[in-house]
């Protein structure tokens, strides 16, 4: 592995880490709370047959 390739690999790794942090920030954005709370209940609707 030459030096230039190592630099590229390092930059890509840091970019992927930042992307992962961005996913956390995006998901925890307060604007999504109501939608996600509603979605968390979605499977419960399919239980009309429960005894």
């Amino acid at each position: 592995m030459n030096g230039a390739w190592g630099q590229v690999a390092g930059i890509v790794t840091v970019a992927l880490m930042l992307l992962f942090v961005a996913v956390w920030v995006w998901v925890w954005h307060s604007g999504h709370k109501e939608k996600y709370d509603r979605l968390a209940r979605l499977p419960m609707a399919d239980a009309e047959d429960r005894p």
Binding site: Y36, D37, R41, L42, D49
Partner: protein
């Protein structure tokens, strides 16, 4: 808005019953080959009855026939319910059922006769591989076409996992099965040597990742909240875990080739990514278990929920074990021993089979037009048979594996090996018998489930089931994609 659309559960019912049958067949073969290891005379000196010929039938039977049928059936069920829409392309969906059953029968009828590529979890020859690809692409077309006509704007997280499972398995299957056929029943891979091994274990590990993990997490993210009758503990966390899992899993395959001709740095990459995998694995397990918070009384009275809780415990345990075994120093003890067998079955019988059985018990009454399963006592019996069998299986194989590892590495003061190989075989023979007993209990439980499903399906067999109407929500303003109008 008048409600005239109904769910298409016909194909779901077919997959459900096929899963029950393949579960008994696949695990039954597993018990037979376990018996062969305890009593080698059971080979009967017949080539197609030997362990080496039948073992692929066990793995193919439980992973692709049992697991695949359960995954495709629940996928068709979940994508309709979470999208509030009817399954798209119903004829193609039915064709995927018959196509998949044909694949399973062809594979299991040819492998014992030596018609095999000799690649783990990818044994079927090229003409079956082409059929697998055609069925799989059709499955993907039905799934994504149904997603496209959903009436809920957001794609529910279970569908993200099912989608990743479909796309990744197609990619893995095609790349690992690029071969040159030399006759109808024989082909050779285009890869050779270490590259072939690396491609095979990139496939093999990601078959675990995307078939046995992502697909079953899709099942878990729908059926756990449904059965707990509680909202998913953290929807946000489920999204983070999804992206973490699919980003990391692809790079861990080389941990299957520790201490081989594979370059050392590739082995180290596999080890590092395997340890990273702990985070999304524990995240999903915690999300599922916390969803039961406040509903533990329901768990005590509901065998389907019991299966799900224990499945999540074993998911956390077996992924922790897997990450640990990928560390080179631990791997030097565990590799080639029955510890690996214990780990695989802790994941397969503990996580995969239990989340499948729990989900099938949750889905079956609804799909089969009954208020509940035919026998709750049968479900309870199944739970305890399965749990007892699982504990016997993994405890015996852990003990056998560590015994083998320690005996193989033992050296005296001169550096010579202390034990001849035969001594380690003699030492572990009692554990092979215990493993056989464990397997027997598990298959017994599967037979109880098949009996229970058969009786629960009485109305379905008599064609008395009324289709379930799709609850059609009011469209959101400027909804994209636009909701599909109701149709008869």
């Amino acid at each position: 808005m008048p409600n005239t659309e109904t769910y298409n559960d016909q194909v779901v019912r077919l997959f459900l019953l096929a899963a029950a049958v393949w579960g008994v067949v696949g695990m039954g073969i597993g018990v037979f080959v376990a018996a062969q290891l305890a009593w080698p005379a059971l080979n009967f000196d017949t080539s197609w009855l030997t362990f080496s010929r039948l073992r692929p039938n066990h793995t193919f039977g439980v992973i692709f026939a049992f697991g695949g049928s359960a995954l495709m059936g629940t996928c068709y069920y979940v994508v309709q319910r979470t999208g509030h829409t009817r399954l798209a392309l119903p004829r193609l969906a039915t064709a995927t059922f018959w196509g998949w059953q044909l694949v399973c029968v062809l594979a299991m009828a040819t492998m014992p006769f030596g018609i095999t590529q000799s690649k783990e979890y990818a044994e079927p020859e090229w003409f079956i591989d082409i059929l697998v690809a055609a069925v799989w692409v059709s499955f993907g077309v039905v799934f994504f076409a149904t997603l496209a006509r959903r009436r809920i704007k957001h794609i529910y997280v279970a569908n993200w996992y099912y989608g990743a499972f479909i796309i990744a398995v197609a990619l893995l299957h095609i790349v690992n099965n690029i071969v040159v056929p030399v006759s109808l029943t024989k082909s050779y891979p285009v890869y050779s040597g270490t590259v072939d091994a690396m491609v095979q274990w990139w496939y093999g590990h990601n078959a675990v990742a995307f078939f046995l993990t992502a697909g079953f997490l899709g099942m878990m993210y729908y059926f756990v909240p449904r059965q707990a009758q509680q909202p998913l503990w953290s929807y946000r966390f489920s999204i983070v875990n999804f992206w973490a899992l699919i980003s990391v899993y692809m790079w861990a395959g080389s941990h299957h080739l520790m201490y081989t001709a594979l370059p050392d740095w590739v082995q180290s990459v596999g080890m590092a990514f395997s340890v990273l995998l702990l985070m999304p694995s524990w995240g999903s397990a915690a999300n599922g278990l916390f969803t039961f918070n406040g509903a533990w009384k329901r768990v005590a009275n509901d065998p389907a929920a019991k299966f799900m809780v224990l499945a999540l415990v074993f998911y956390a345990a077996s992924t922790t074990e897997g990450s640990t075994m990928a560390v080179k120093t631990v791997n030097s003890l565990s590799h080639y021993t029955d510890w690996t067998v214990a780990h695989v079955h802790s994941g397969a019988i503990g996580w995969v089979a239990m989340i499948t059985i729990g989900s099938l018990y949750a889905m079956a009454p609804r799909a089969l037009g009954r208020p509940a399963m035919h026998s709750k006592r049968g479900m309870e019996l199944h739970f305890w048979l399965h749990t007892a069998g699982l504990i016997l299986y993994v405890a015996s194989m852990w003990t056998a594996g560590v015994t083998e590892g320690l005996m193989w590495r033992a050296t005296d003061a001169t550096g010579a090996l202390v034990y001849p190989f035969i001594d380690s075989l003699i030492a572990i023979k009692p554990f092979y018998f215990i493993r056989f007993l464990g397997g027997l209990l598990i298959v017994g439980g599967m037979i109880v489930m098949a009996w229970n499903l058969w009786h629960t399906a009485a109305d379905a067999r008599a064609r008395l089931i009324k289709p379930i109407p799709v609850p059609i929500p009011e469209p959101e303003p400027l909804q994209v994609p636009a909701p599909v109008p109701a149709r008869a």
